[in-house]
């Protein structure tokens, strides 16, 4: 037996629950006298509700109530009460607040009935008349109206030097505009909330969320509940990718109905309604690159316009990547936003990074052809050995290894640099590459560790597992730290009564909650050792610190005498304790601020394009990742594979199409909004390069949820150019653009 788990491929601890159907998601909990809520959505994008006739629906036997702006209860007054942990600056949307329509598919009523079918039917009987106002939903039309937000949500652009002079000095210049449309998260599980009201009135709220605490704070503020009254639970989340970072309106509606009716209520959005809230904002990005003849960058100009709503100023870190990814003295950045009659955009897997680096990495590819350099060579010429945007050293950066190992595995040297030069039968073959980066963060988080006399350990924190493997890696970290077999360790999450953790997002959970779990287990070790030292005739009596002992295989050993050991259970008994418990809060170390902390990737893609039909097949992708310490190579590989699949989607398939006449996302289902299916995914390979980092956090892990997608789309787009000689700068590359 060995209790070394970190770094070993480990099957998910929640795997059995997931393959047997036992794992319970937000809409799957039993509740006393459950009723069903169905949302009625606005059919116009802008204007006001003139009248709503709910009488036909209300008279159906079994319909309990229909909530509208006319009859809703009084609620919190101030915007502050509706803001959450991921709110951009502005006034958050308030469901059923008044008669105003701010976006198409805005929720305008909730029908509550004894069965789902009845509620759905009744919802179809609600008659609404509107007074329509002209809407704006075309970003392209708003170029002149785009403005600099008074406050950026995440990062302010960080220009440097003098790009104009840089461009004047440049021997070679390229300039181009890159666009991509809005995209929707579309996790497989639709957003859902079940509010269970017990006999005594106690509420239990099962919500689909990336933070039970965020949901809890949101509803507590709006409905005037104490945190004790509003317990939020979310043990399993059927995907989110950012869609669960903000409380969505089904939570609000289910809570309102449950409190008013004093009955359990479940509200599940339809797939169509999954297009009625946050999404990846469409962007228009202009890139100007100036370089010397040898490819060395003289200037980078990155100007972006992105959409936001009428009521909030959403902005993501879209352009700063152009300041940090390469070495260049002169960088000019602007990031404007434009108000459209849509819901506020929302962080979606690698928000900003995937959009901004798609543009930058396609521009770099164009520069490679302009300078007649191999695209890989161009990137090495401009390799940044520090973060020039903040003038800080990297805490670690093994991107060179990513390029090298990725290129070797992929067979980059077999690439004929000439576009449209490689083919097999009717298929044109193209090879492209792109660089990716993602910021590494450690946030503050707490964890509780409880060791029982039978040797079982329970560790907990109010974080989430949205498929990322949180349950498994936290169990690994706890088991290894305390030297216990994994079978004796359980990790609990997704319950607002547990110690505080931040939103699960930004790829920071492994680092953040992992560090808290590790420190909680180390604190337990201190307690165990203290007990051992004080025991009568203990060989551990002279031991001063944890350095002198080893916790492994369920035992505590003296480091200098491995003959002397005691089992954890015996240690507990000796200490006369039935239960040892500690709760700690792990904070990032201050010295992190002296460093730039990023994960990196080099993505190599091969595409095959049917010359007659213009269909693109991504035949191979190699993604080489420098992501610090890999806690679980099995689940880590899965995360990066998923990121590549998202890259395929972004490059070739995904587009939330707005019908400008109605201001509505018109392809709002999974038949028309295309995401990759099994037949779209071929040979994908993931390499984790060795990267040691003591600075990022005590675990040394950089997080892998997002780095896998960054660069993937650009690599595919660049491969399509190499295959066809056609530079498509407008995603997704559907076949019509290649014909």
């Amino acid at each position: 037996m060995s209790t070394e788990y970190i770094g070993k491929p480990t099957s998910r601890v929640d795997g059995r629950d997931k393959v047997t159907g036992k794992a319970q998601y937000a809409a799957e909990f039993e509740a006393l006298n459950l009723t069903y809520g169905v949302v009625v959505s606005s059919t116009i994008a802008k204007g006001r509700i003139k009248a709503m006739d709910i009488s036909a629906a209300l008279q159906l036997p079994g319909v309990l109530q229909i909530f509208t702006h006319d009859n809703r209860p009084g609620l919190a007054w101030f915007d502050k009460s509706y803001q959450d942990e991921d709110s951009p600056p502005g006034a958050p949307f308030r469901p059923l607040y008044d008669e105003k329509i701010l976006f198409s598919q805005q929720p305008i009523a909730l029908v509550v009935a004894s069965t789902f079918e009845l509620a759905r039917y009744a919802a179809s009987l609600v008659k609404v008349t509107y007074e329509t106002e002209p809407h704006v939903t075309d970003l392209n039309q708003l170029r002149q109206d785009a403005y600099t937000p008074s406050k950026y949500k995440s990062a302010e652009p960080t220009p440097r030097g003098d790009a104009e002079t840089g461009l004047a000095q440049a021997a070679i210049k390229i300039e181009a505009e890159y666009n991509h449309p809005s995209e929707h998260h579309n996790p497989m599980e639709m957003h859902a909330t079940t509010v269970a009201v017990a006999e005594d009135g106690t509420l239990t709220i099962y919500d689909k969320t990336q933070s039970v605490l965020n949901s809890q704070k949101y509803i507590s503020k709006i409905f005037g509940l104490s945190t004790k009254e509003a317990r939020v639970i979310s043990p399993f989340v059927g995907g989110a990718f950012g869609s669960g970072l903000r409380p969505q309106y089904q939570l609000f509606l289910a809570m309102m109905a449950a409190l008013q009716l004093k009955r359990s209520v479940k509200v599940v959005l339809t797939r169509q309604q999954m297009f009625s809230f946050g999404h990846r904002p469409a962007t228009i990005q202009k890139l100007v690159l100036g370089a010397q003849a040898n490819g060395a960058l003289e200037a980078v100009v990155h100007e972006a316009i992105a959409e936001t709503s009428q009521f909030e100023d959403y902005s993501e870190n879209l352009v700063n990547w152009s300041a940090m990814l390469y070495k260049c003295e002169n960088v000019q950045l602007t990031h404007k936003i434009a108000k459209m009659d849509v819901y506020t955009p929302l962080d979606m897997r690698a928000p900003g990074g995937v959009s901004g680096m798609f543009a930058l990495e396609c521009a770099m590819d164009e520069l490679a052809y302009a300078t007649k350099l191999d695209p890989l060579e161009l990137r090495l010429v401009n390799y940044a050995d520090k973060d020039y945007s903040e003038d800080k050293p990297f805490s670690s950066k093994e991107l060179r290894q990513c390029y090298q190992q990725g290129a070797e595995k992929f067979g980059w040297n077999k690439r004929n640099p000439k576009p449209r030069s490689m083919r097999e039968g009717k298929e044109l073959i193209g090879m492209g590459l792109a660089t990716g980066a993602w910021e590494v963060k450690q946030k503050e988080a707490s964890a509780k560790a409880t060791l029982s006399v039978d040797g079982t350990l329970q560790v907990s924190s109010a974080t989430a597992d949205i498929g990322t493997g949180t349950y498994t890696i936290m169990t690994q970290i706890a088991a290894e730290t305390l030297g216990l077999p994994m079978e004796q360790v359980t990790f609990k999450l997704g319950d607002s009564t547990l110690p505080e953790a931040p939103l699960q997002g930004g790829s920071w959970t492994a680092a953040t909650v992992g560090s808290a779990v590790k420190q909680a287990c180390e604190a337990l070790k201190e307690k165990i050792l203290a007990g051992l030292r004080s025991a009568k005739d203990s060989p551990f009596e002279p031991v001063q610190t944890l350095e002198d002992v080893v916790f492994t295989d369920g035992r505590v050993f003296l480091k200098n005498n491995s003959e002397q050991s005691v089992s954890i259970t015996e240690a507990m008994r000796l200490a006369g304790e039935n239960v040892l418990e500690v709760t700690i809060t792990a904070k990032p170390k201050k010295n992190q601020q002296e460093y730039a902390m990023f994960s990196h990737s080099a993505v190599f893609a091969e595409v095959r394009v049917d010359e007659d039909f213009g269909t693109v097949r991504v035949s191979r992708v190699v993604s080489a990742i420098a992501g610090g310490r890999v806690i679980n190579p099995k689940t880590a590989r899965s995360q990066v594979l998923g990121g590549i699949v998202w890259g395929i989607g972004m490059a070739l398939e995904e587009e939330s199409v707005i019908d400008q006449q109605y201001g509505r996302f018109i392809n709002h289902d999974l038949a028309e909004y295309h995401v990759p299916v099994s037949a779209d995914v071929h040979d994908l390979e993931v390499i984790f390069v060795e990267e040691h980092d003591d600075i990022v956090n005590p675990i040394g892990a950089k997080g892998l949820g997002e780095i896998g997608i960054v660069g993937a789309a650009a690599a595919i787009v660049n491969a399509v150019y190499h295959a066809t000689g056609k530079r498509i700068r407008n995603l997704p590359i559907t076949l019509d653009k290649l014909l």
């Binding site: 393959v19 159907g21 036997p61 497989m188 995907g239 899965s638 995360q639």
Partner: protein, 176 residues
């Protein structure tokens, strides 16, 4: 233009379909529930029988999350009404394991990490059971094509295909 008003919903007196007793044979057990004819098999399983292992991902037959086996064939349970399935053998994800012993596909999914969030997983596994029974999948490309009715937004396809391939190589229906 015929008498258009007659087709307006508001002109109709809402009449609700009556509930009736329906006996469904799910995972070898007969269960009688009272429901109206407009209840889909998916909602009958999830809301009336508390068999929530079968997932709702779109309710329109577009994602495959609700795949179950009816008389051994894989179907989207959101596209059939519960009353149409009386007398048929329905197998859901909850019925694949024999006691503690998992179906080989369930074991392979765990081993290959053929999931992430787990929400499409019951549908993927039921679909793969149906795929094996069909006996049409001879190549990796066949598996991909014939599993493309089951969307996995986490993008676990590579591992899903490996898991299915392993079970096929080991002789397919080893569980039966």
């Amino acid at each position: 233009m015929q008498n258009q008003a007659a087709f307006e919903i508001s002109a109709l007196q809402p009449a609700l379909p009556p509930q009736q007793a329906v006996t469904l044979k799910v995972n070898g057990q007969e269960k009688t529930i009272k429901l109206a004819p407009w209840v889909s098999l998916l909602d009958a399983l999830r809301e009336y029988l508390q068999l929530t292992g079968t997932k709702k991902g779109c309710d329109h037959g577009q994602c495959g999350a609700c795949t179950v086996l009816v008389n051994g064939k894989r179907i989207n349970s959101c596209l059939t009404l519960a009353i149409m399935e009386e007398g048929n053998e329905i197998i859901t994800i909850e019925g694949l394991a024999k006691g503690d012993e998992l179906h080989p596909l369930q074991t392979a999914f765990i081993e290959h990490d053929a999931y992430q969030c787990g929400y499409c997983t019951p549908g993927q596994i039921c679909s793969a059971v149906g795929l094996l029974a069909e006996g049409k999948a001879k190549t990796t490309a066949d598996i991909k094509e014939l599993m493309s009715g089951n969307i996995c937004r986490c993008g676990a396809y590579t591992n899903i295909v490996s898991a299915i391939e392993e079970v096929i190589q080991k002789g397919g229906q080893a569980h039966e």
